[in-house]
Amino acid sequence: MLPESFNRDLLRQLELLKLQGRRAFLGSRQGGHLSLKRGHGIEFSDYRQYELGDNPRHIDWGVYARSDRLYIKRFQEEQDLPVLLLLDTSSSMTTPAAERKWERARDVALAIAYVALMQQDSVRIGVLGRFVSPNYYGARAIHQVGDLLLGVAPGGQVDFPRAVRDAASQVRFPGVAIMISDFLLPFDQIQAAFGSLRAKNLDITAIQVLSESDRNPLAYGEPVIAVDSEDGREIELMLDDQTRAEYDQLLERHTARLTDYFAESRIGFSRVHTNEALDAYLVRGLTTTGLLR
């Protein structure tokens, strides 16, 4: 089952998209992506000198005509692309519930999974801190993925680095990893988490989901006791002109730091706001990362 936002129009648009890794990987099955394995696939890769025992049918006679030397054509094998989707289900993704940050993260993950499954890639869902699903194959598996994600009830506190490390430990073949979170956590935890993924030689993309309240968390000019949705910490504050300006600066700094880090680490990065249309983001926003085309 798929969420209501996955109407026919959206699905048609998704079917036109193609998921691609920015690098080639060793896949385990035949699929639509170029593999590092060299063998007898369709696409020409390279030449090498003829050796006794090679199949004479692969001799490139054109090269022989030009060079009087015998060369064999080499081809790249086309394999499936393992896709790992990691979702942050901590309480920050559900606060405030009305802005539906989690629902947006879920829908983005589902859309990417749909694209991947349609092109015969394997998809695995990691719900951070809870479980990592088995591999799903084939277009029909999208309903299973939909049921899985619709059944997740987000909330609570997640040890982000540990959860990502646990999920990464289950990866057997390098492929694509997409992390979807709001990344409103200390920078060292973000680094530690992505470090685990990088150690697995994955092609990583980070998608940050933000809502309006992340930009404007509090009412202006009212003394409040702000309570952290995950650990329950409290601070007293009042948002006035000065503190408001300071908050904006902090947010900008945090975002810039994220962007710089991802760039340095060759991690694709995209940001989606909850008030942005899903199809528009998928078609325009995600394609800028090179993940979809």
Partner: protein, 656 residues
């Protein structure tokens, strides 16, 4: 004025007020938190926590009106929990007068020859005169049963009026049960008991501090008091001749060697062949007509009973009276009531109802000739008396319940034998086997003259003593038997089996049963007498034609105490009764109680520890229910206030 107002309040649990500073502190803390602004949950404090200047400087806490309102309510709640109550102005004092027979004993060394009861009147007068203006008093008498003469605490002057009518009666003092009753009751600030006995207390607990005993006779005075009493009278009939023998047992208390004369007199038989019962006119005439049947002189030593036998009492002289008279004019006999004893020949069998799943034969009661037993099975009893819709009609005056306990005490005298386990009415603590008797209450008519120390009960249901009961037989496992009175009805309970009745084969149990029937059913097992105080049932008129009391004025006249076909008699003597059908009955009534007769020895009664208060707790009286009302009002107001705060916060959260 304020101090007087404050003094008029009391508190049950003042320690609860130590919570006041805690509650106040908690409320201040809650308000300080509330003043910090509303709580808003945000996705993450990651960035907000980095803000350099977050909150304005905290203002000084100025309590709003709501804070004061809530603090007041919480304080009221605490006062309610502390059990605030309004004291009655002045003390409530119970004045308990021992009205047993020994209180009518003349104190020989007293210049006026006063009795302890006369001294009590003076002592009570002095007590109320020295009491506080607002003190209230309730007057009780102990005998024949504990009862209040006022019904409710009254002012001192009303006590004086009630005191004038207090007289000693031929009855036991029941002081043990009386003290236990007041130790358990919380109605009185002080309980003062006027008696001729001495008080003892447990050295560890010290006894209930509210209860005090005023002893009206000193040990030195007691040593000079002497009493001669008839302690028993019995008729034995010879089967061969138409004569009988009357044996009169006489004992001297506090005497050395005292010569006394025992005289047996008879009231001539009524006219009419074979008639044994007097008509009213004959009863009046018999007031002065006496025949002396015999006279004996006997020397009494202290505490040693002497049996004086009068043989050859001719048939016809069925109603006899025995008197013991001093021979020395200077001998001062302390009590007169015990100088006479009576016998009559009322041979009408008393009907005793027996409720048991065993029949009369199996219970051995067919051998008891002096009573007529009517058997009912348990189911029959329940249908007729417990589950019946219509009133059951006339009942026997005495019922024996064997291995069954009804839902409520019956409106008759009753004996319970081996009560069922689990009954709330007659509580059984446990069941034990092969239990030996440790002691028995020798002065009680049920067990008097019985040597129970040799008895072992094969099966004993150990009994829990009710407030109205007096333990009769104690064993290694607990109480084996007790007896007592409730609203002038007598009840006895045996936790051991006394059936089947086997006569001489098991003499102790047989005597125990006969004593019980005699005590409960006025059973004339020996053509004898009833024991006062007792209630005569199914009578329309009662006349006294002889008595040993000093009040001889009403002899032969009606005793104006017949109510609903019952009359209570409390003076030894000869009574003539009529029932509605014209049936006449001549009854002898006696009181034999060596505990009351022996006025020469100090007797002691223990003041119990404060019992678990079961009556008249402060919250049982409307005027002291202040604490409950305060607590409820405060709690309701607080709940409404906090509900409003909660609903407002929910609404705010929804808006966020």
């Amino acid at each position: 004025m304020i101090s007087a107002l404050l003094a008029s309040f009391g508190m049950l649990y003042p320690v609860a007020l130590t919570g006041l500073p805690i509650v106040a502190g908690a409320l201040v803390y809650a308000y300080l938190r509330r003043g910090r602004g509303r709580r808003v949950t945000v996705a993450s404090l990651l960035l907000l926590a980095q803000l350099r200047q977050r909150a304005p400087a905290r203002r000084r806490f100025i309590p709003p009106i709501r804070f004061i309102f809530e603090l007041l309510l919480l304080s009221l709640l605490l006062f309610g929990v502390a059990g605030l109550y309004r004291r009655a102005a002045g003390d409530t004092v119970a004045i308990v007068v021992d009205t047993s027979l020994s209180m009518a004993a003349r104190i020989s060394t007293d210049a006026l020859g006063a009795t302890p009861l006369q001294r009590t009147r003076a002592a009570v007068e002095e007590l109320v005169a020295s009491g506080a203006t607002h003190d209230q008093y309730e007057l009780f008498v102990t005998s024949p049963t504990l009862r209040s003469l006022n019904g409710t605490p009254v002012a001192a002057r009303e006590i004086r009026t009630a005191l004038a009518g207090v007289e000693a009666v031929a009855a036991d003092d029941n002081l043990g049960a009386v003290l236990d009753h007041f130790a358990a009751a919380d109605k009185f600030d002080r309980v003062i008991i006027f008696t001729d006995q001495q008080a003892t207390v447990d050295p560890k607990s010290g006894g209930d501090p509210r209860i005090s005993l005023r002893t009206l006779v000193s040990p030195a005075e007691r040593r000079e008091m002497h009493n001669v009493a008839i302690v028993g009278i019995e008729r034995t009939r010879s089967l061969a001749a138409d004569e009988s023998e009357v044996a009169v047992t006489v004992t001297g208390f506090g005497v050395t060697r005292e010569n006394v004369r025992v005289v047996l007199g008879a009231i001539p038989p009524p006219e009419g062949a074979g008639e044994k019962n007097f008509s009213l006119e004959e009863a009046r005439a018999a007031r002065t007509d006496r025949r002396t049947l015999g006279e004996r002189t006997v020397i009494l030593k202290d505490g040693v009973p002497e049996i004086v036998r009068f043989s050859g009492v001719r048939q016809g002289y069925e109603t006899v009276s025995a008197r013991v008279e001093r021979t020395r004019p200077e001998f001062r006999d302390a009590i007169n009531v015990d100088n006479a004893a009576y016998l009559s020949s009322d041979e009408r069998a008393t009907t005793v109802e027996v409720v048991s799943d065993l029949d009369i034969q199996a219970l051995g009661l067919a051998r008891v000739a002096s009573a007529k037993f009517v058997h009912r099975s348990v189911n029959e009893y329940q249908s007729k008396y417990e589950n019946a819709v219509a009133p059951p009609g006339e009942r026997s005056a005495t019922v024996i319940f064997h291995r069954y306990v009804p839902r409520a005490l019956p409106p008759t005298n009753a004996l319970f034998v081996m009560p069922e386990v689990g009954s709330p009415l007659i509580a059984v603590a446990s069941e034990s086997r092969n239990v030996a008797v440790t002691r028995s209450l020798a002065s009680h008519p049920l067990v008097t003259y019985l040597n129970l120390s040799v008895v072992t009960f094969p099966i004993l249901r150990v009994l829990q003593l009710p407030s109205w009961g007096e333990a009769l037989i104690m064993t290694t496992a607990g109480i084996a038997a007790y007896a007592g009175s409730v609203q002038e009805r007598r009840y006895a309970v045996f936790g051991f089996e006394i059936f089947p009745y086997e006569g001489k084969k098991s003499p102790l149990l047989s005597i125990l049963l006969l004593n019980s029937l005699k005590w409960l059913a006025d059973l004339n097992t020996n053509s004898g007498f009833v024991t006062v105080p007792t209630t005569l049932r199914n009578v329309t008129e009662v006349h006294r034609i002889d008595s040993s009391g000093d009040d001889s004025s009403d002899k032969g006249e009606k005793i104006a105490s017949v109510a609903d076909g019952s009359a209570t008699i409390d003076t030894p003597g000869i009574y003539v009764t009529h029932d509605g059908t014209g049936l006449r009955r001549t009854l002898a009534a006696n009181f034999f109680n060596e505990h009351e007769f022996d006025v020469s020895r100090d007797t002691f009664v223990r003041i119990p520890e404060p019992g678990r208060r079961t009556e008249h707790t402060p919250f049982s009286e409307a005027e002291r229910n202040l604490a409950g009302r305060i607590a409820i009002i405060a709690l309701v107001a607080l709940l409404i206030d906090w509900s409003i705060i909660f609903l407002r916060s929910v609404r705010r959260r929804r808006m966020v």
